[in-house]
C-alpha cells in the first residue's frame, strides 16, 4: 500500500465511527471508485483537516538557522552541567563551543539529522542525545507512557460502562419491587436532584 492509499485507509478508519451506516456500507464496498454519489461534505472537510494537521507535523525545519537551533536543543552539553547544548551558558565551557562548531560543520556538510546524531553518539556516547532514540530498547521509553495512558483510559471507560450497567440493572430491579408514589418521596427525590445537579455541591 502506497503512502496516499495508506493515509486514505487510516482516514476512513478514523472517521468510521462518525459516519452513517449507509455511507459506511458504501465505503466498505469495493466499487468505491465507480461511485457517482460524492461523500458528505463534512467527511471531506474532516479529511482535509486531518491532512492539513498531518502535513504540518511532517514539515521539518527548512531554514538552516532554525535547524541549527532545533538540533542544538536535541543534544546535551558534555561538560557535566546537565544542560541542553543550546542552553549551556558557561563562559569557557570546555565542551559546548567545540560541540556547537562540530554541529555547524555537520549541517554545512549536508548531513542529515540522523547522521549528525550518529556522529555525536560515536564521539561522545549515547548520553549526548537529549532524548532516547526511536529504535532498540530506547523505543520503550516513548511507547510506555502512551501504552499506559491508553490502557488506563480504556480500563476506566470499560469500568464506568460496567458500573453504569450495574446501576441501571439495580434501578430496574428496584423499580419492579418498590413503586415510589408517595408525594413526600417524590418531593425529596426532586430536591436531591436539584441539589446534586449543575448548581449543586462540588
Amino acid at each position: 500500500m502506497g503512502a496516499p492509499a495508506r493515509f486514505t485507509f487510516w482516514m476512513r478508519a478514523a472517521c468510521a465511527p462518525f459516519i452513517s451506516r449507509t455511507s459506511r456500507n458504501e465505503w466498505d464496498s469495493k466499487t468505491l471508485a465507480s461511485q457517482t454519489k460524492p461523500p458528505a461534505f463534512w467527511i471531506k472537510s474532516a479529511e482535509a483537516l486531518v491532512l492539513a494537521v498531518a502535513v504540518c507535523f511532517s514539515m521539518g525545519a527548512t531554514d538552516s538557522g532554525a535547524r541549527y537551533h532545533d538540533l542544538n536543543h536535541r543534544l546535551m552539553c558534555t561538560c557535566g552541567c546537565a544542560q541542553l547544548l543550546g542552553e549551556c551558558n558557561h563562559v569557557g565551557c570546555p565542551s559546548s563551543g567545540q560541540e556547537l562548531s562540530e554541529l555547524s560543520a555537520d549541517i554545512a556538510a549536508g548531513m542529515s539529522d540522523e547522521q549528525i546524531f550518529s556522529a555525536f553518539t560515536a564521539k561522545y556516547g549515547a548520553t549526548v542525545l537529549a532524548a532516547p532514540t526511536t529504535h532498540g530498547f530506547d523505543l520503550v521509553a516513548w511507547i510506555a507512557p502512551f501504552a499506559v495512558f491508553g490502557a488506563a483510559l480504556l480500563g476506566t471507560i470499560l469500568l464506568i460502562r460496567r458500573w453504569a450497567g450495574l446501576a441501571g440493572a439495580k434501578a430496574q430491579t428496584a423499580g419492579q419491587t418498590i413503586a415510589i408514589d408517595d408525594p413526600a418521596d417524590i418531593e425529596r427525590r426532586e430536591r436531591i436532584r436539584r441539589e446534586t445537579g449543575a448548581d449543586g455541591g462540588f
Partner: protein, 687 residues
C-alpha cells in the same frame, strides 16, 4: 554545642522509639481487649507525651546546629563544609539545609512540629489521633536512626580545625533559597500526616469518612506548601542559573513534581469519597503513593541515583531510604489486603459524561503525568540495567510526552465543573459548553490575526502550535469558570438585589471550597498561559565593548561601563547597560558575575526587568579571555510574569478554600429580608 546536639538527637530517638512501641502496644491492647497491668489508654497517653517531648529534643538539636553556624564552630564538620565567617546572617540559616545532614535534621524537625500540633489537638478524635501519632513516630524513628548513625550533623572535624569554613554553595546564596527548601520540605513532610491518618483509619477500620474531613486541612495546607516550594524553586532557577528558563526537567525537579501530581489527584478524588462514598481504595492508595513519592524524591536528591544539577546534596544514604520505602510499601500492602473489605464503594458511577467521571479522568491524567515523569526519571537507570547503555532523558522527551497530557488536563479543568453529578443530557452539554467553545475559537482567530501562528522561520513549530492550543484551551476554561461564577452570582443577585460583585463575594462565602477551587483553577490557567509564552522566547549573545549596542525585540541595550566590587564574601564584575525603546532611555540594568572567596566558585546574578507582556532578562556571562570584553546574553521571555501572578491567585484560592463556608442561614442574616425574591430557588451553601 556538638555534644548537646548529638545528645538531643539520641534522646529524640529514644522518645520516638518509645512513642512507636508504647503507642502500638496500647492500640493493640485496645483493639483486642486483652487485660493488661497498665490501662491501654494511659499507655497511649504516655506515648503521646513522649512524642511531644521528642519534638522538644529535635528542636534542641536544630537549635544547636543553628547556634553552631552563627558562632562559626568549625570543629563540626558540617559547619566547616557549609558555612564561613563572612556568610551573611540570612544565609547562615540556609546552611541548615544546604547539606544532607542538615536537611535530614530539618525534615525530622518539621515532622516533629507536625506531630506536635497533631498530638496537642488529639481530643478531636482520641483513637484516630493515637493511630496517626504512632505511625508518625514510626517515620520519625527512621529519620532519627539515619541522623544518629548514617548522617550525623554534629560529627567532629578530624585534624587541625581550620580558621574559616568552605562557605555555602554560591547557588544557594540567593534570597529565595532561604524560603524555597523549607517550603518544599513542609510540603514533603506534611504529606506524612494525611498518610498517617489514612493508614491509621484503615488499620482501625474507621467508620465513615470523618478521617478525610479531619485531614482535609492538613492535606490542603501541605499541598499549598509544596506548590509554593515548587514555584519558588522555579523562580530561583530562573533568576540564578542564568539559562533563561525556569524548568529543566531535572530529576530533582521531577521528584518534587511527582508527589504534587498524586497529591492533587487525591484532593480531587477525595471529594468523591466525601460526597458519594466512592473511590475509597483509590484514595487510600493515592495518599500512600504520595508519601512514597516524597521519600523517592528525597532518595533521588540524596543518593545520587541520577545525575542532577542538585548534586550538592548527594551521598550514600540511598540504601537506608530504599529499605524504609520497602518497609512502608509492605505495611501499606499488608494493611490494605487485611482491611480491604472496609473500603467497598457505596455507589458506582452511572455515566461516562458526569462530574464523577470527570474526576476519575482527571485522576487518570494526573497519574499518567506522574508515571511519565517517573518513567523518564528512572529510564536511564533501567536502560543501563537492561542494555548496559545509559541514555539521557531530557527536556525534548518531556516536552513531547508531557505537554499533550498537560493540555488534556487543562481541558478537563474546564469541562469537569460544567458537568452535573450522576449523568448529563445533550441539552445541558450544549447550554454549558457553547460559551467556552466560542471563546476557544475566538482565541485561535485572534492568535492568527495578531501573527501568532505555528510557523516559525518558515517551518512548523511544535512549540508555537502547543502555545496556541494552550491559549485557546485556557480561554475556554477561563470562560467556563467565570460563567459558573456569573450563573451563581446572578441567582444571588436576583434573590437579594445586590450587585454582581457583592453577589459573587456572597456566593464564594457560601461555598468556599467549591469557589476557592475555581479560583485555584483560574490560577492554574494563568500559569499555563505564562508557560506557553516560552514558545516565543528569543535571545541574543554578544561581546559588548564600551558604547556597543545589542538589539533584542523592541529594546536596544547600550553598554555604558563596567565596574568591579568586592566585599568579605565575594568579588563581583558588573556591566552597566542603558536600555532604550523607540530611541528613548527606559531604565538601566546591571547584570553581575560573582566569585565567592570561600569556595572560589563563580555565580551569575541575572538582571531582570519584568513586564506583564515579557521579561527582559540579561546575563553577564563572563569575559572573553582574548579580547577582555564582557559577553552579554539577553533574552526576551514573553509572559513569564504570568506564572508568578498565577501562583499568587492559586495561593489566594487555597486560602479561600480553607476558610469555612458560612451557612445559608447565616448568610441570610446579612441580606435584607424584604429584597428576597421567594420565587428563586435557594442556592446551596456549605460543602
Amino acid at each position: 554545642m556538638a555534644s548537646f546536639g548529638s545528645f538531643a538527637l539520641i534522646i529524640a530517638l529514644a522518645l520516638a522509639a518509645y512513642n512507636l512501641l508504647a503507642g502500638a502496644l496500647a492500640l493493640r491492647l485496645i483493639a483486642t481487649g486483652q487485660p493488661a497491668r497498665i490501662s491501654p489508654e494511659r499507655l497511649a497517653d504516655t506515648a503521646r507525651r513522649a512524642g511531644i517531648a521528642g519534638f522538644l529534643a529535635i528542636t534542641g538539636a536544630a537549635f544547636a546546629l543553628i547556634w553552631s553556624v552563627f558562632t562559626n564552630d568549625f570543629s563540626i564538620t558540617y559547619i566547616m563544609e557549609h558555612s564561613n565567617r563572612a556568610l551573611p546572617a540570612a544565609y547562615k540559616f540556609s546552611a541548615l539545609w544546604s547539606g544532607q545532614e542538615g536537611s535530614l535534621l530539618l525534615w525530622a524537625w518539621l515532622l516533629g512540629t507536625y506531630g506536635f500540633v497533631l498530638r496537642l489537638t488529639h481530643k478531636t478524635d482520641v483513637k484516630l489521633y493515637a493511630y496517626a501519632g504512632t505511625i508518625l513516630a514510626g517515620i520519625q524513628v527512621f529519620f532519627l536512626l539515619v541522623l544518629n548513625f548514617a548522617a550525623p550533623p554534629f560529627a567532629l572535624y578530624r585534624g587541625v580545625i581550620p580558621a574559616d569554613g568552605n562557605g555555602l554553595n554560591p547557588l544557594l546564596q540567593y534570597p529565595e533559597m532561604v524560603i524555597h527548601p523549607p517550603m518544599l520540605y513542609l510540603g514533603y513532610v506534611g504529606f506524612s500526616v494525611p498518610f498517617a491518618f489514612a493508614l491509621g483509619a484503615l488499620m482501625m477500620r474507621y467508620p465513615g469518612e470523618k478521617w478525610i474531613k479531619v485531614t482535609r486541612v492538613w492535606t490542603m495546607v501541605t499541598w499549598l506548601f509544596l506548590t509554593t516550594g515548587i514555584f519558588l524553586g522555579m523562580h530561583w532557577a530562573y533568576a540564578v542559573l542564568g539559562w533563561g528558563g525556569y524548568w529543566g526537567w531535572d530529576p530533582v525537579e521531577n521528584a518534587s513534581f511527582m508527589p504534587w501530581l498524586t497529591g492533587t489527584a487525591f484532593l480531587h478524588s477525595v471529594m468523591m469519597q466525601e460526597k458519594k462514598g466512592m473511590m475509597k481504595s483509590w484514595n487510600v492508595w493515592l495518599i500512600f503513593s504520595t508519601f512514597l513519592l516524597t521519600l523517592l524524591g528525597t532518595l533521588l536528591t540524596r543518593a545520587g541515583l541520577v545525575s542532577s544539577v542538585h548534586a550538592f546534596a548527594q551521598s550514600s544514604i540511598g540504601t537506608w531510604f530504599i529499605v524504609f520505602m520497602g518497609i512502608v510499601l509492605a505495611v501499606c500492602i499488608f494493611t490494605y489486603v487485611l482491611q480491604r473489605s472496609h473500603l467497598k464503594s457505596e455507589h458506582h458511577m452511572e455515566s461516562l459524561v458526569s462530574r464523577e467521571s470527570s474526576f476519575l479522568f482527571n485522576n487518570l491524567v494526573l497519574l499518567t503525568a506522574c508515571f511519565v515523569i517517573l518513567w523518564g526519571t528512572l529510564f536511564p537507570i533501567l536502560s543501563e540495567y537492561v542494555v548496559g547503555n545509559k541514555v539521557t532523558v531530557g527536556a525534548p522527551f518531556y516536552n513531547r510526552v508531557a505537554i499533550p497530557i498537560g493540555l488534556f488536563l487543562l481541558f478537563l479543568t474546564g469541562v469537569g465543573p460544567l458537568l452535573p453529578w450522576r449523568s448529563t443530557s445533550l441539552k445541558s452539554i450544549k447550554r454549558n459548553f457553547i460559551l467556552p467553545v466560542i471563546a476557544l475559537w475566538a482565541t485561535v482567530i485572534v492568535c492568527f490575526a495578531v501573527g501568532v501562528n505555528p510557523w516559525k522561520d518558515g517551518a512548523f513549530s511544535n512549540g508555537s502550535f502547543y502555545a496556541i492550543v494552550s491559549f485557546a484551551v485556557s480561554a475556554a476554561v477561563l470562560t467556563a469558570i467565570l460563567s459558573e461564577f456569573l450563573r451563581g452570582a446572578g441567582v444571588i443577585s436576583r434573590q437579594t438585589g445586590r450587585n454582581l460583585l457583592v453577589s459573587t463575594w456572597l456566593l464564594t462565602r457560601r461555598n468556599t471550597r467549591r469557589y476557592g477551587g475555581y479560583i485555584i483553577h483560574i490560577g492554574v490557567v494563568i500559569v499555563v498561559v505564562g508557560l506557553a509564552g516560552a514558545a516565543f522566547n528569543t535571545s541574543q549573545e554578544q561581546e559588548l565593548g564600551l558604547h556597543d549596542k545589542l538589539l533584542i525585540g523592541p529594546y536596544t541595550l547600550e553598554c555604558i561601563g563596567f565596574t568591579q566590587d568586592s566585599n568579605d564574601n565575594f568579588d563581583s564584575d558588573y556591566a552597566m547597560l542603558d536600555v532604550y525603546r523607540n530611541g528613548k532611555k527606559q531604565f538601566q540594568m546591571t547584570p553581575e558575575k560573582r566569585v565567592y572567596h570561600a569556595s572560589d566558585q563563580p555565580q551569575t546574578m541575572v538582571a531582570i526587568h519584568s513586564l506583564p507582556s515579557w521579561d527582559l532578562y540579561v546575563v553577564y556571562e563572563g569575559t572573553n579571555p582574548d579580547t577582555s570584553q564582557p559577553i552579554i546574553k539577553a533574552f526576551l521571555n514573553p509572559l513569564v510574569g504570568w506564572i508568578w501572578a498565577g501562583l499568587v491567585i492559586l495561593i489566594f484560592g487555597t486560602f479561600v478554600a480553607l476558610v469555612p463556608s458560612i451557612t445559608p442561614a447565616t448568610a441570610s442574616l446579612r441580606v435584607p429580608a424584604t429584597r428576597a425574591a421567594p420565587s428563586e430557588p435557594a442556592l446551596k451553601g456549605g460543602d
